[in-house]
């Protein structure tokens, strides 16, 4: 089960026995209209629907597909957060992960700390791949995968829209500003997912029952020996400046006249 960690140019990961770690963060559901608290101390999260970060659902789906293709043997979902994350992790297990790891902390976790936690788990689990969402839709930081790859000294393939695993390497198509970039990354590696990588499956009722018997390892954050850095302090939350509603024009001629008057056409 253990995959040897190749040095540079070293031994290859055996894909058929590969383990994949998947980051599986719980966030405010993407359909919720976010409200900033009037005193600027945060956003309203009480009673708000929470669900898996959509990019993490895509990450999990990709890991499951690689396992179904015989490219990987085991898929492990990882969440860092408070004690009530169990139901969220059960969703990941119901979707198809073999087991879950819950790193328990009631504190907010910044990306560098999350990356350090993942590094500890990587050292223990020796995965051939770590797949994370490219960003979480709460803090929109887009950092953890890249930071993990740096700390682990392994390749990163961010913003993936296509992943192929063969001969000890991942060939990844990345959605970048200039178009589609293809890179090769020797395994083990970190991949972060973009929207078009796949469409995550729906969870079926029998899978929810099955998930109840799958294991969730609980690890106290404090036991990992990770320094929780506090380099960034959020001091204020504000609602964004609103664009005021403009005017409705009756036809094309009126629109063109208005734009010409503003010097835009």
């Amino acid at each position: 089960m253990n995959v040897p960690r190749p040095g540079r140019g070293g031994s290859r990961v055996k894909e058929s026995q590969m383990k994949i770690l998947v980051g599986y963060k719980r966030v405010v559901d993407y359909n919720v209209r976010i409200q900033v608290k009037p005193d600027g101390s945060g956003v309203v999260t009480d009673g708000v629907k929470l669900s898996a970060n959509p990019f993490d659902d895509i990450a999990l789906e990709e890991a499951l597909r690689l396992r179904e293709k015989g490219v990987a043997e085991e898929v492990v979902v990882v969440s860092i957060g408070p004690a009530d994350l169990t139901a969220h992790l059960r969703n990941g297990l119901a979707m198809g992960a073999n087991r879950a790891i819950h790193v328990v902390t009631s504190d907010a976790v910044q990306p560098l700390t999350a990356a350090r936690v993942f590094l500890k788990l990587v050292e223990k689990e020796q995965p051939g791949l770590v797949i994370l969402g490219k960003q979480a839709i709460d803090d929109d930081a887009n950092q953890t995968g890249q930071m993990l790859a740096a700390l682990w000294d392994r390749p990163q393939a961010t913003f993936a829209s296509k992943v192929e695993i063969a001969a000890g390497k991942a060939t990844v198509t990345r959605e970048i500003d200039a178009g589609l970039e293809v890179i090769e990354a020797e395994l083990p590696a970190v991949i972060t997912t973009d929207l078009r990588l796949n469409e995550p499956r729906f969870i079926k009722l029998p899978d929810i029952m099955k998930a109840k018997s799958k294991p969730i390892d609980t690890i106290e954050f404090g036991s990992l020996g990770v320094e929780a850095h506090d380099h960034l302090k959020t001091t204020h939350y504000a609602a964004p400046a609103k664009r005021s509603k403009g005017v409705m024009v009756k036809d094309a001629a009126e629109l063109v006249a208005a734009l010409k008057q503003k010097g835009l056409l």
């Binding site: 953890t144 913003f159 970048i176 293809v182 929207l195 302090k233 504000a238 409705m248």
Partner: protein
């Protein structure tokens, strides 16, 4: 005093305008120096462009075949080495910067501030979270270097022309990894203006209906000299390639004129355009949320209205 290192973004031997925007953010730090770092296989032309940006103190270059393509795993250790002695490292918040900057931050053991919209002080910044539905003020610990990505749409490009900063070649002596390799870049050849820096953008959404129908968007854009964008729905439906996507997870843009055609205006799309000067919405559904943010709204069938608009322009 602060010293800011700005990482240049470039493609095909040309500097990307996101670099001059990051220099504007660097100037807002009000430090003693702004140096621009160019990593490329052939640096001269790019460095010469960067040297002309107002406010730049020096242009530093690292030339080599390993820097021919912007692989984060290869660039990050070089940037981290050069960053010694700087209080700030600023990188454009484009896919280039989003890829490489966190890798630099982790190598330096510091946090990163993503998508800086404003610089309130040398260590105090504003940035969006929740798809721009909240703006937070973040204070970085002055004891550490600040690594930040700069939200291009929030910053004007620093002026060019009057300056001529000195260019210095560096040769950081570090081993670079060979575990990540560039294979190819598939780019749609286009003579149209670049979506991220264009002053006018015409975008189409699901309402356009098909890949073939999207021609009407391209033709209209060409007529008014605009770049072409799209909503996620249009990209997901395969009407246009992904690099045209505007929104929370696509490109964040701030053109003077944005014309949204057949786009309903999901919050994730609005995030990408809220800094536009004037927004025009054309949609057959008068209840579409896009009209809530549009300066000018026009309800009707886009296949009739676009020819009408083209005729009215002539």
């Amino acid at each position: 005093m602060s010293k800011v290192l700005v990482i240049a973004e470039h493609l095909g031997g040309k500097l990307n305008s996101s670099t001059a925007r990051a220099v504007s953010a660097a100037a807002a730090v009000k430090g003693e120096a702004i140096d621009v770092l160019v990593l490329a296989d052939s640096v001269d032309a790019i460095a010469a462009e960067a040297a002309k940006i107002d406010g730049v103190s020096r242009v530093l270059t690292v030339a080599g075949p390993e820097n021919a393509h912007p692989l984060a795993a290869v660039l990050a250790p070089q940037i981290a080495k050069v960053a010694t002695g700087y209080s700030h490292v600023f990188v454009p918040s484009t896919t280039f910067g989003k890829d490489v900057a966190p890798r630099v931050a982790a190598l330096l053991g510091v946090a990163q501030v993503s998508d800086v919209m404003s610089v309130e002080g040398a260590h105090t910044f504003k940035r969006p979270i929740y798809a721009g539905n909240a703006i937070i003020t973040v204070e970085a610990n002055p004891a550490h270097a600040v690594v930040a990505t700069i939200r291009s749409a929030s910053w004007p490009a620093a002026a060019t022309g009057a300056s001529n900063a000195p260019v210095e070649a560096l040769a950081p002596d570090i081993a670079l990894p060979a575990h990540t390799r560039f294979v190819e870049l598939k780019q749609g050849a286009s003579d149209r203006p670049d979506l991220q820096s264009a002053s006018k953008v015409v975008s189409g959404g699901r309402g356009v209906g098909s890949k073939e129908n999207f021609d009407i968007i391209f033709k209209f854009a060409d007529k008014i000299g605009a770049a072409v964008g799209a909503s996620r729905a249009a990209v997901d439906a395969g009407y246009v390639p992904s690099d045209l996507q505007v929104g929370q997870t696509g490109k964040i843009i701030a053109p003077e004129l944005y014309i949204a055609i057949g786009i309903s205006g999901a919050i994730q799309h609005l995030t990408g355009i809220k800094d536009a000067g004037t927004i025009v919405a054309i949609n057959k559904d008068s209840e579409a949320p896009i009209f809530e943010v549009a300066d000018f709204g026009l309800v009707g069938d886009l296949f009739k209205l676009i020819p009408d608009i083209e005729n009215a322009i002539d």
